[in-house]
Symmetry: C2
DNA sequence: ATTAAAATTTAGTCCAGTCTAAAAATTAGT
DNA sequence: ACTAATTTTTAGACTGGACTAAATTTTAAT
């Protein structure tokens, strides 16, 4: 028995995602940072990073997938498509240029720039970003030493290695502090450890134990885990 | 006949309005600008200014009234309370400091600053605003010559008057260009009319007709209406 | 191989802020 | 003073982005 004459079509089609919303931009950036090699990023890890409920991340992944920005394999996680990575890199560029500007021009500390940039990156125009970059003299790195991708998403050469991978006595120049909390950055600053500083590895305990580092203002033990996030290069040039 | 035992209380109480949303901030700022003397601002005028439907403005007014930021007399319009004006002035300060910063530090043109500031004003922290103000040398005016209110909402002294209120031949210094569109600002710039420029009123047609103005780059007729928005003062000091 | 635990998705709500269409109040025209 | 035009408010709906609780799938442990 067919009810005649009434056809209701529910079209959940368009939903044409606003690429420029703060949320979308932050999800893409987070995905980019969590995505090591080719392993897909777990929805929960993503949710944790962005401080939202797992269900919220899942919902967003469905939208981003529909927009062709991520590939979502249900129950397995997701990875950025080329187009998604492009967007993400654009945000990374913005973030890092803003950080550099805050430090150089407005005298922000290393531990303060990230919070402000996290908001500003969504509000500034392309024009403003490029003006900042010009005024700064076209920098290739942010104040933490992280490289700034160019418009094609290419990074400058990086030859630096983690502190803990060097052998003692060689003079080293700190090049980059990776993704540390403001409190950790303040601690490192106080120890004389920041990009550009010249230091020397004094000793290295076995079995990934702490290392002893000679810095411009003293000699300090550093946990292996932390030393992995401090990138340096030989101070020859 | 009373249905027994079931009492449903619908409490539409809290709805504790987020003071820091972009919308709220823009509504307050718009109200402030539209509010001349003590006449309440019409909902429709407000809606027009913010490019939203009248119904949207009404809805927002109800919330702002509930939050004590405006006084809303239904069908008559609304005016800011002291608390609302305070918020609005804070936004005016932000907007103008940002404009000055964009012009001075990032070499924006007079016609470009407003659009960018309109977005940034909602994204920058108090700290960043004050840093900009310091780096700029604590300016008292924005690039259009509009005064920057201080933290208590007080404005610097203003003795300037509209161009059309002066009598011919006196040398005048342009002090401020009020609320003009980017296109008008470009036009004025091209005529040599911008804050700081020294000009001379050559002639004034009767009945609020156009005025003739001698500027650093020529002699130009200016509509009365436009001349009202150009503030100047005698060029004696 | 079952079962228990953990991760993930679905279903159903909520809230801010907008919209359109209809109703109500105000203002203007005669 | 009445009607007509205009302004303003109400009613109802929608969207983006979040949430909680429940269902489902995957993974880990026996
Ligand atoms: Mn962000
Ligand atoms: Mn950084
Ligand atoms: Mn604004
Ligand atoms: Mn201005």
């Amino acid at each position: 028995m067919q009810s005649p004459g009434l056809l209701i079509t529910i079209s959940a089609m368009p939903s044409h995602l606003d690429l420029n919303s703060r949320s979308v931009q932050d999800y893409l950036k987070a995905l980019y940072k969590l995505q090591q090699q080719d392993a897909p990023v777990s929805t929960n890890v993503l949710a944790e990073r962005l401080q939202v409920a797992p269900a919220s991340a899942t919902a967003m992944m469905k939208k981003l997938a529909e927009a062709g920005l991520v590939e979502h394999i249900p129950y397995q996680g997701c990875r950025l498509t080329d187009s998604g990575r492009q967007q993400a890199l654009k945000m990374v560029r913005r973030h890092r240029i803003i950080e550099q500007f805050l430090q150089q021009v407005l005298h922000y500390g290393l531990d303060e720039v990230d919070e402000e940039a996290e908001v500003l990156e969504h509000a500034v125009s392309d024009k403003l970003i490029e003006r900042m970059w010009q005024v700064l003299g076209q920098p290739s790195h942010d104040p933490h030493g992280s490289p700034i991708p160019d418009h094609q998403g290419r990074f400058p050469e990086q030859s630096a290695r983690p502190l803990c991978s060097f052998s003692p006595d060689q003079p080293l120049r700190i090049v980059r502090l990776k993704e540390r909390s403001p409190a950790q950055l303040r601690y490192l600053h106080q120890l004389g450890i920041e990009p550009g500083a010249v230091v020397r590895l004094v000793d290295k305990a076995p079995f990934n134990g702490p290392i002893i580092l000679h810095t411009p203002n003293g000699q300090h033990p550093i946990a292996w885990e932390l030393a992995e996030a401090i990138l340096a290069e030989p101070d020859t040039p």
